[in-house]
Symmetry: C2
Subunit: 262 residues, 2 copies
């Protein structure tokens, strides 16, 4: 049914060298140091002490721009790097045995991708850019070396992984016990919070993903996603214009979300 020629182009991604000689060479490398990064409170260094964060600076890693539609890594690729989103949005996804795609997460600035590759040395999911993006590519081997001599770093890795486990728990809860409306509310409130934490408006934002991708993530069909958006709009809880969302009645939404079990 699908014409293969129309698949999103999957070009190889080049990792930029850690140190790119530019006109402003004196400051540019600093930007790739964790301790100075504007995302440091959201990203790898989150929860680390100041001295431990400085130790993190001995990590030398490259940055890479990934254009919309490009794939940063594929399910099954050898696991070498974990990636931190610097800007833009990614989705991660798995391919089902019948070839369909199952979206397993969305990632924005400061969030990590690829931790599922540690288990077997191969990426267990694929990461695709939903808009033009930039990532830090952190060599996992370097990170473990650093952790070997520094328990703060080691604890950070463990905490990050555990956080991922907890995060997935909550998605399991969502998929296992909520109806379509509750799922969509949970999704929107989660997005809203994460955007707020990044300095964006919590009440008005632009979705970077299609209805099909939202549906795949939430375990519902794209038509149901669309219908549920329309229903919320009619109830005056949201204003929806394609991918532009404005939350009108946050309490109403939250209420709809919590009224499971009557």
């Amino acid at each position: 049914m699908l014409t293969a020629t129309l698949e999103a182009p999957v070009n190889p991604i080049r990792i930029m060298p850690a140190r790119q000689t530019l006109g402003h060479a004196a400051v540019s490398p600093l930007a790739t140091r964790c301790s100075n990064c504007h995302l440091r409170d959201l990203c790898l260094p989150c929860g680390m002490t100041g001295t431990d964060v400085e130790r993190l600076d001995s990590l030398r890693f490259g940055r890479s721009k990934v254009k919309v539609g490009q794939t940063l890594y594929h399910e099954g690729d050898r696991f070498q790097f974990i990636y931190a989103v610097r800007s833009g949005t990614f989705k991660s996804s798995l391919t089902l045995t019948d070839g369909r795609e199952q979206v397993s997460g969305f990632h924005m600035a400061g969030e990590l991708m690829g931790l599922d590759g540690v288990a077997h040395g191969k990426h267990a999911s694929s990461a695709t850019a939903l808009e033009d993006t930039e990532v830090c590519a952190i060599p996992y081997a370097h990170l473990t070396e650093l952790a070997a001599g520094n328990s703060g770093t080691q604890n950070m890795i463990s905490r990050l992984m555990s956080r991922e486990i907890v995060r997935e728990h909550s998605i399991m809860m969502l998929l296992g016990s909520m109806n379509a409306e509750e799922r969509l509310v949970a999704f929107l409130l989660n997005l809203s919070q994460r955007l707020k934490a990044r300095g964006y408006s919590a009440s008005e934002f632009h979705l970077r993903m299609t209805r099909a991708e939202i549906g795949s993530y939430l375990g519902m069909k794209l038509e149901t996603v669309s219908r549920t958006f329309s229903a919320f709009q009619q109830q005056r809880l949201l204003e929806v214009d394609k991918r532009h969302i404005r939350i009108i009645d946050l309490d109403g939404l939250t209420h709809a979300f919590e009224m499971r079990g009557h």
Copy 2:
């Protein structure tokens, strides 16, 4: 609706000292050493080298018997130990805002519980024994100390956590993209494999959990679980007698499982 007096008794669990003086004291302590444990290929030491496993023996940890219905730890409890199942079966579960229980996993011999507590220092789920059980209670602080001086141990921890992430991915796939029959087949095949890996029959086994617990885990109602079992029985794929399951037609089941998307 529920009478509080009928809740399963939640007695405090006593952790037995690592070294209990018994008649056969000469061999008993060895049983708690990872390198000699009959579960070593499934449990913590899985994938470690021989010398690293021996280093694991410097971990001193206690064992604990947990009776059916008792809870090993509760959601929100301070996180101190990770637990390895020695014998019996556990469920982990979360409590939803409306008070209902969401089962997030089942755990059998050699499997670890509690890794979700690393993230915030509190257990993110509760663990309840589905039959009389025994666990090793491994102090997480000791484990990280050991890992600080031994990269093999550190990698083990990371791998185990990543494995948990991958495992949860597959449950998300299940919940997000399968219908009732497919979910139940996936569940049974998974149980079957895990039992086989532990030396039990892959084709005939006893379920330790109720229909309601299976349903909660698989995102369906207990009645649907029951009906689906009955349907499989009518199709001569299974023999079901309450909790006793016999797989008659493994290929048929597997086929039913893979025929998503026709």
